[in-house]
Symmetry: C2
Subunit: 396 residues, 2 copies
Amino acid sequence: MKFTPPPASLRNPLIIPEKIMMGPGPSNCSKRVLTAMTNTVLSNFHAELFQTMDEVKDGLRYIFQTDNRATMCVSGSAHAGMEAMLSNLLEEGDRVLIAVNGIWAERAVEMSTRYGADVRTIEGPADRPFSLETLTRAIELHQPKCLFLTHGDSSSGLLQPLEGVGQICHQHDCLLIVDAVASLCGVPFYMDKWEVDAVYTGAQKVLGAPPGITPISISPKALDVIKNRRTKSKVFYWDLLLLGNYWGCYDEPKRYHHTVASNLIFALREALAQIAEEGLDKQIKRRMECAQVLYDGLGKMGLEIFVKDPKHRLPTVTGIMIPKGVDWWKVSQYAMNNFSLEVQGGLGPTFDKAWRVGIMGECSTVQKIHFYLYGLKESLKATHPNYAFEESNGFH
Amino acid sequence: MKFTPPPASLRNPLIIPEKIMMGPGPSNCSKRVLTAMTNTVLSNFHAELFQTMDEVKDGLRYIFQTDNRATMCVSGSAHAGMEAMLSNLLEEGDRVLIAVNGIWAERAVEMSTRYGADVRTIEGPADRPFSLETLTRAIELHQPKCLFLTHGDSSSGLLQPLEGVGQICHQHDCLLIVDAVASLCGVPFYMDKWEVDAVYTGAQKVLGAPPGITPISISPKALDVIKNRRTKSKVFYWDLLLLGNYWGCYDEPKRYHHTVASNLIFALREALAQIAEEGLDKQIKRRMECAQVLYDGLGKMGLEIFVKDPKHRLPTVTGIMIPKGVDWWKVSQYAMNNFSLEVQGGLGPTFDKAWRVGIMGECSTVQKIHFYLYGLKESLKATHPNYAFEESNGFH
């Protein structure tokens, strides 16, 4: 028994500094959520794990505002949630309409194409939502099996209104798939009332849980479509008939499917309990108030927001336009090195154009917003001594 | 803004009892591993996360005994690792040969079929490995693109020798895919020397890390096959060209792929550091010694082992035959209720026939083995007062 020697890099201790994670996610988790992960790892045969999974389902039905039985988690990132939906609802040749104005919709195009779907797109500017009229016309033109919409786009900070879209879809025998990764618990979302057929969100975003597990829910209509597929869905790991059975969604005896990440389930359970204790309405109001404090503070510094129209802004992610002549990366680095503050840059439509600030998880307090504004301003001043904050707003 | 009320089930505190997890995985993690998860969640833009990922890669190359650049983790369970390999290496119509004698190979058949592969199987008894001759003849007959083998089968406790198999595969232009979920760090494994092309293991098994993240490695030859696919792999989430880029395997600038489960990466890093500190040779010897203590103790109790031939036994998972007239589930329940000890039942070939005991993670000490033997015996006695331990071994 001879082996190559162990690597030297593992001899050092693991040191992860505390940081204030105010980018567009992952956000900071509460101590309660982090501590939950130190519980004993449980396997698929333990009653305490099944009970915790049931409680997670209760919490998810609450935050999605749905009665859907098929409410569960995918053992993977939010990208896995997106792909689980597309791989279950689309078969080769099925037509899907994707409304593209940010990078998540682009990902949906890429994934759907790989599964052999007939992908149609409508494109729009990154800072304005699609109107109900535009969506209706596109549905009438393409007659898709599914429409994919991003509710809150973390690459831009845009909020897409959903009222009425589900009804239009169902008038045209089309299912509505919604990406609520960055929006859920930051703005109202009513899965059943809005007739959304499939939704997924990000644990590590507004919910304040760690990444690696992704809440999803599908309507009875969508479940019927999956049950009546001509072919099995390509991906065993995400087969929602098997996964839903394992999560106890279908009133059948449970069959082993895969080993769930018990410790992430414990953490998500605690994040959901914290949301339930405060109440969705107060959570959302708090984040909207934080967003207003942020907008006011940025305005006073003469900084503009990527999404111009306040009613189209996602309160949980805000794009801050990088002023002319400013090296955004230098500012971000300074903020991290001096304030342990994440001032994250843009992605997709905001790349090199904006910073993105998140009001998610534990970072959704007015105090944290003031700290962010302070840190951003000091970092701007320190890295750009000649930068003049606009006179009109009182800063020099 | 009106919502349905929050669920009552989330009002109770989360209480997960401490348990001794001596089933075939997940196993108990060390305090150091569990505590690592309480570090700040980091996103894809933080140097500390990238450094930790590099250290994880170093540790994985060590435990796989490989120089493969394409060594990384899939953000999902070991099943996701299996499916990532199959979805990357197989295209529609590609022929794969699967050696079936336990439930993991059956899963590989199911997955490969869904991806449209031309699936061929050879079947064998669950308690005897495939001989090199049998494998060679099957490769010659079927001329597959890939051969799938389970190194250590946790459904039976069988160890499949791998020496020489890679060489035979390569003489026939075939790639060797190995499931090392339950075996790695419990028995020697030499990826490069044995010419294994694709391997995955389970974090929550012998390694003693939490579930939800899965180490994988692929050879340069397998990477070439993936690079030269006629079609893109179906699953974006597991595309090893994109994932490997993100894990910094290919000396290219990193591109965002998905949000990794940073806290599981921290935990895995600590599990690997503990293995590196002790050394692979000592880890493996320790588990082999534990297995011997277990075999001896079971023998003294008159209990038989599912895999008869000692040289074919996987030291990390042992199937204990359930004696005639014994209700295995009653025994398991008693052990859990009275000793917080997991005495897990069988799965696949051992279902209703054997208990399965794991020597994995923190449960790989002689002390724990003695406790298991004690707990099993007391539980057997208490639930079956008339059960006679065989006289020959001194127990009555």
